[in-house]
Symmetry: C2
């Protein structure tokens, strides 16, 4: 298997991904070429998945890894209220995986991309002793309408979509629906678009755990937060997992008390869990009357 054949195979697979008219040139040149529409902003994110950190080859199929690699980046687009446009995929792997393994990785990734009308437009390939994937996603929003982390104001309600702790619970249990959910997280793209239309004040995705992510949102907005309502806990998960567990990929957002936030977006429940406060110390999160430790996932703690 030479690189040129491998690229030809991926290019063929990519042609089955959703054709976005804005992609003028996909795989096969030095760069992908994209034609922006009038009056749109573009948003960009990139996320690693690394063997031994985010998955192991024993526990995750190539399809699981391809799905997760794209889902992590798509979740960031969802958090901006953006519509997916295209992705680039950098993949490094041991030579012996160049056949079926790599094929199944791309198949699952392209299947997820297609569900969200997204083109696989390019990337990079390399041989390496471990599997390393870095997925770049581009999305579009109407000009000036991206949902940012820095817009939360005192008295805004704090909300989450879905239920929390399920991914951490799944990772601990390694079986059942929670494990399947950990393996194949569902990016909340439609919910993000709905929140953008509603006009929420700030949003981000819950990738590293509520305690750490809410702390980050508060820091960016220069406010503090009080969690004063029941957190929606995923079936079988503990409160600890719901507060600090990573990789739920639900959305965390804030909205003015004047906004009527629906209790569901499609089938996805939306729950108010607290209120934004003036900051004595920006970033502080109070839970049950005490300062909550930002115990979420920290690569460098």
């Amino acid at each position: 298997m030479r690189e040129i054949q491998l690229v030809a195979r991926i290019r063929k697979l990519a042609q089955t991904s959703s054709p976005q008219p804005s992609i003028i040139k996909g795989i096969g040149d030095d760069c992908a070429v994209m034609r922006p529409r009038a009056a749109e902003d573009l948003v960009f994110t990139t996320d690693f998945v690394l063997e031994g950190r985010h998955f192991t080859l024993d526990t995750h199929s190539p399809g699981d890894i391809g799905h997760k690699a794209l889902a992590r980046s798509l979740s960031d687009l969802a958090a901006m209220g953006a519509e997916p446009v295209f992705c680039l995929v950098s993949l490094a792997f041991p030579g012996q995986l160049a056949g079926a393994w790599v094929n199944n990785f791309y198949k699952a990734l392209v299947a997820l991309a297609t569900r969200f009308n997204m083109t696989l437009a390019g990337g990079d390939l390399s041989r390496f002793e471990k599997v390393v994937a870095d997925v770049i996603c581009c999305g579009r929003v109407p000009r000036g309408k991206a949902l940012l982390r820095n817009g939360a104001k005192p008295k805004d309600g704090i909300f989450v979509t879905g239920e929390l702790g399920g991914s951490a619970h799944g990772l601990a249990a390694k079986r059942g629906p929670a494990w399947r959910r950990h393996l194949r997280p569902e990016p909340r793209v439609a919910a993000g678009l709905a929140l953008r239309t509603l006009g929420v004040s700030a949003a981000m995705d819950l990738s590293d755990g509520l305690s750490l992510d809410l702390h980050r949102l508060c820091l960016e907005s220069n406010v503090s937060a009080t969690i004063d309502s029941a957190i929606p806990i995923s079936h079988g998960a503990t409160l600890e997992q719901a507060l600090h567990g990573g990789e739920d990929y639900e959305l965390l957002f804030t909205a003015s008390p004047r906004k009527r936030v629906p209790s569901k977006i499609g089938d996805l429940p939306v729950t108010q869990i607290g209120v934004i406060r003036h900051a004595d110390r920006p970033g502080t999160v109070l839970f049950q009357g005490r300062r909550l430790h930002s115990g979420g996932f920290d690569h460098f703690a």
Copy 2:
């Protein structure tokens, strides 16, 4: 060192990079936000640099690696005739490098970005047992003006910028100017812009060696090529290194015989090395009357 502190430090460094007015939101949110100008196309590329494949920690300083990581992607923008806009940097590394090493990596990367008026707008960080960097670059071209690989026509001249084989020679010698050049390649961004203005028929960058890259250009254009003039060989390099050595990051392009291609762009020499032919077998490259083996760097050969 916690992730939040590390991000704060990189964010501060990124603010010293060239501020591009089109970047509405840089580091600190789920995505970077960019506002395209009217009537421009955007080009995107991503490139790995991997410990043990593209560098070793013994032979390359963190500054060398930061420079090279960005230079590889910038070279792809140059090949499209694009003006650099922003980059995203995904970096994974062992925890003990989180201090000075990571700082010096970003400093060199930001210094190169700033030379090309480019903003460091985001990325991802992770801990990993090896150093892995993936750099995404975005550039702009006037609508419809990107230089592609697929425009070469029979009778077009084949040209290269600069001299070839220097990087392979440097890698073999591990000292002297050729080694310094291997460590700190210079992306040909200004030459790419000049070629776009001139209106050349096809272009790509020489990252994997002339024999393989010219083969790829011919495949995309459905033509063949004859190398019938002297190849400009870097001082001290062999013909073998000039034909098959990777990482020169010079530009390879074709131009209609009606175009007057200058012999220099700024200080950079431009040399005609051959002519495009009708394809009996697309992708064939003739050298000294024989078919040239595509012996350049192939990750999966």
